[in-house]
Amino acid sequence: MKIHEYQSKEIFSRYSIPVTREVVCYSADEVCAATKKLGLPVVVKAQVLTGGRGKAGGVKLARTLDAAREAANQILGMDIKGYTVEKVLVAQGVKFNSEFYVGLTIDRNTKSVILMASREGGVEIEEVAKDNPDAILKFPIDPDLGMTPFLARKIAFALFSDFSLVKQAADLFQKLYKIFLDTDASLVEINPLVLTEEGKLLALDGKMNFDDNALFRQKEINALLEPTEDEIKEIDAKEKGLTYIRLDGSIGCMVNGAGLAMATMDLIKLFGGSPANFLDIGGSSNPQKVIDAMNLLLSDKNVKVVMINIFGGITRCDDVARGLVTALKQMKIDIPIVVRLAGTNSKEGLEILKELNLPEVNTMSDAAKMAISLCS
């Protein structure tokens, strides 16, 4: 789960991490009022739950009140990677001498939280990682010890030589780690962390992502969720035990298991078709789930064919078949359906399906090819 920059920085503030003075605004008038309050210059920044807003023109410096209003007018309503900008953050313009990067995330290899830090902040860190990997320092954090003062200091000494900055940075690293644990984050990032002309470290930007698996124990974080329409569909799906991601194609897919779902989509693509979605109906099966999945899938009007690919493990093919029969009886479905059943109780499942008079397919490849041919 993602939250906005301003929300991340509100959390930072709660842990006494210095951030820019700033106000969230929903209109150009609010932006003007905020600018008057903060004093010029200000930076107007789109608040959208996706990256790359800078390149998209979603961040503007304003040296006059008029410029602030103009920036607000330009940015509010802007579309950034499919997200409409509904609010902007107006932040005080800060003079700074240098920019740093600090980020904490989970490291699969050390199986721990890792802190990454770089003197090359302010730019896309992924590009630094590619072009100059040594410029990013990485410190895995022993889960038993946590961010000890000595580790925080060691990292800080690797970035700064002035001891007053070392102390500020070490303090910051300890707080960021605490935030990471306290909120079950999957990413906590400050980019850039700037050194102001007054010699203070300050978070100019902030980014936090959270572990979806832990949201059940993070009520406050969960309350910050702002899903897009597509995401609402995905969340609804999840509540029904389904994982749904909408794509652009025309072949609606229903598969059990994420890996098999991806392999199914890959195969459709390989044979020249285009999948309309990723839809994993998950582990344990029951007929209602299949009905829900079918409804979800058909809510996308681009879908011209449905391809169902089930390999029975826990999910029993006869359950899927029964669900399918029930679903098709309840719904008026006027597009073709291709079903491939294999694994646990596949014979029983195929038997049940007979009354639907569906085309017969045996393998994934056959099913994909059949779906593609029915699509055109």
């Binding site: 590619k130 098999l260 890959d266 994993d280 994934m364």
Partner: protein, 291 residues
């Protein structure tokens, strides 16, 4: 031989009185796995399908001599169940539970290392040594005893692959579903080494997914340590960037962890990559020089 589980496996089912736990305890027993007991706090003294239930893992281990445990408890309790198994001296823990908070798993790892406990999962379908022991939720009937070792981050895709192998006459030594969570137990490297050391395994199938760099690391490991033939498959070649495809692992962002990169990594170390599941048996046969 084989790896991790076999005829000597004495299995405990943690969460045996739950819906999934009881169902799969029965299935595993039916397959022939030596299921010696179950654990469910407060249900000690009962039995499920003739399997005795205990209140604590310690008590269960003392009474039954269990050496392996499979975990079906709800996600918020899974990390604690793993620790309990480790503390009681269980050697291999297989955590099926899905949705375990990542930081719970981070916290668990150093303790397992200290105790020398092996973990598979969480969020995994388990593993099987055909004809000897099924420790997981895999459909036992599709497997066949043989000399191909298989490891996979995916569940049903594994079944698909195994089905391809079996129907093409290629049996399996052991098949391991390692799961897709960000922080998991045994991973490609450790399992590759185990298969390398297992005299009954002659070829290895590695099924990967987009996201992370585990496949790239595995490729490097194969180059340096593995002499047996390995063939690979990567799911998610058609996945759009920035979308999470159900597994925490299956996310592509910022140009790293893509299927192309992973395929290139394998091919650069001489590991052939199948583009369709159906190619897997062909490649294995080619590597093993079987017609």
């Amino acid at each position: 031989m084989s790896i991790l589980v076999n005829k000597n496996t004495r299995l405990l089912v943690q969460g045996i009185t739950g819906r999934d736990g009881s169902f799969h305890a029965g299935k595993m027993k039916e397959y022939g796995t030596n299921v010696v007991g179950g654990v469910s706090p407060g249900k000690g003294g009962q039995n499920v399908d003739g399997i005795p239930v205990f209140n604590t893992v310690e008590e269960a281990v003392k009474t039954t001599g269990a050496n392996t445990s499979i975990i079906f408890v709800p996600a918020p309790l899974a990390a604690d169940a793993i620790l309990e198994a480790s503390e009681a001296g269980i050697e291999l823990v297989v955590a099926i539970s899905e949705g375990v908070p990542t930081l719970d798993m981070v916290k668990v790892m150093p303790y397992l290392k200290k105790n020398g406990t092996k973990l598979i999962g969480s969020n995994c379908p388990g593993l099987i040594t055909p004809g000897e022991a099924l420790v997981g939720i895999l459909p036992g009937n599709i497997f066949m005893k043989g000399n191909v070792g298989l490891m996979s981050r995916s569940g049903t895709l594994t079944y698909e692959m195994v089905n391809q192998l079996t129907t093409n006459g290629l049996g399996q030594s052991t098949c391991v579903g390692i799961g897709g969570d960000p922080v998991a137990g045994l991973y490609y490297q450790e399992l590759l080494q185990m298969f390398e050391d297992d005299p009954e395994t002659d070829a290895i199938v590695l099924i990967g997914e987009i996201g992370g760099d585990a496949e790239e690391r595995a490729a490097q490991y194969i180059k340096e340590h593995i002499t047996k033939p390995v063939v690979a498959f990567i799911a998610g070649q058609s996945a759009p960037p920035g979308k999470r495809m159900g597994h925490a692992g299956a996310i592509i962002s910022s140009g790293s962890g893509t299927a192309e990169e992973k395929i290139a990594a394998f091919e650069s170390v001489g590991v052939p990559v199948a583009y369709r599941p159906v190619e897997i048996p062909e490649l294995v046969k080619k590597m093993l020089k079987i017609n």
